[in-house]
Symmetry: C3
Subunit: 210 residues, 3 copies
């Protein structure tokens, strides 16, 4: 029945695995540490989501996720070794695609287990954001979620579109696709035109901790 | 019955949300990434505590926590935008207040689920410390818990005062308030007079990893 | 019966506590923050393993783990204060020993709860790697798992040796010891001769995010 759930999850995992592998490459990591970074990025968010929902972690009874990570990472390694010029913002775009899958899937899974709509959207955002957060922390970069361009807002909008359509009686699959598309388009537009929402004005850093 | 549990938790969440927002401001983060940092700081410790105790995560069935985070973050943003000079160690003081709530609440919750006193104090410390740890890691700062001034010690003392009073037959609410006050006063004193416990002498870094 | 499980776990915890304390010393941390870093390193991986397996966290009903951490940390502090020259790669070697215990114990615990062999090895690797990862992130260093020398590979090999021997009918304890030895020897050899598996060629960083 809900086979497409499985495939959406698996696609999100694969896309995040590619983004983790590219991050490893950018940081000149060698060896199988690449696989570790790819795995952490790919399953970090979903694992956290499932722990919080107190349901079996997605990959615990299913080897497919590790196969997907492995294939995605190896394919990326081969691609990168043979064709060294990779477009400037590939990592951001892949991250956006993974985000679209994970946020909507996470929102749906939370709804399935009876959370309120607000909590479901928050949990969806969390599961989408956390894998990439861990990736960026391990690479010692400022997490992408803070480097702006509507990152968190796109997650909230995507989750909002999805739950609103459900509330209006739309079919689940079409609501999912609409939510994912809304999230992805908004994020890609924000990357392209560098849209940001400044909430603090320019300031000198007057709050100095010792 | 234990309504004040809920309010202590909520207050701790709000205070940590303010501290997360201030940390975002210090790091010149713009956009709604602020909300993400506020949320992570505010619910990181409590979420970990509940996962480890294997009880439903505090915010999973209750929207209030997200309202509290949102209101705290927006109020902080408005305040900061209108009055740019914020006293030097505001962040540290707020962190101390949040710590007082979370450590005692965490200790109590662990006792409720039947852990030993030692494990309860450790779990309380963990739930108080981890939200701020994640905040500092995401901001790429040395976690406040390591920047000294009795940070971890105050948690252990607060938890110790609380559990000792309970063992001596004190009422729960008064024991809680006493534990929170002890923790807060010790931490504030340590910040004011920069009290530290050096356990290592000065040394040159002789343990160089390649 | 499975008393040696408990002792292996406790030994792994103690060794990782020492490695956390040494990392605190290298980073000139003072105060009881040392204990925090020692604890996080020592129980981070096992806690994550147990959360994912949805079993009670190892230390929740057992004070021994905290005693082990405390004794290990205090002994390390005393040793370091009295004898300031510590061999260059002590931290790496201790990390390798802790890794050997945790990876094999984690793999076994996962098998006990009915996961597939692949998932068990992955979970063993995770529980071995994550404590050290958190330690390195908190110290703002590049995680050791990415600084190469077969780090992740040794975990996979150790887990592979252990599960293969089990499948071939070997006794549990001897399979465990063999797996741990294989992991430890491979890692020590990799440290000594600086063996790495470069998967990416040398490259200029052409993938620049803005």
């Amino acid at each position: 029945m809900t086979t497409y759930f499985f495939w959406f999850d698996l696609l999100g995992v694969a896309v995040f695995a590619v983004s983790g592998t590219l991050a490893a490459w950018r940081n000149q990591m060698d060896g199988f540490g690449v696989i570790v970074l790819a795995s952490v990025t790919a399953i970090g968010g979903g694992t956290l989501r499932d722990l919080i929902l107190d349901v079996p972690v997605i990959w615990i009874n299913n080897n497919s996720y590790f196969y997907a990570i492995f294939i995605a990472a190896v394919a990326t390694i081969l691609l990168v070794r043979n064709r060294l010029t990779i477009p400037n913002n590939t990592l951001q775009i892949l991250d956006a695609i993974g985000l679209a899958f994970f946020v909507i899937m996470g929102t749906q899974k939370a709804l399935d287990y009876g959370t309120s709509t607000l909590v479901a959207i928050m949990l969806g955002t969390m599961s989408g954001v956390c894998g990439g957060m861990i990736r960026d922390v391990l690479c010692r970069e400022i997490p992408m979620v803070f480097r702006g361009e509507l990152y968190a807002v796109t997650c909230l909008v995507g989750g909002g579109v999805y739950t609103s359509l459900l509330a209006l009686g739309a079919g689940q699959l079409s609501a999912m696709l609409a939510g994912m598309s809304a999230l992805l388009l908004l994020r890609l537009a924000a990357i392209k035109w560098q849209i940001t929402i400044p909430v603090f004005g320019k300031h000198h850093n007057e709050l100095n901790e010792p």
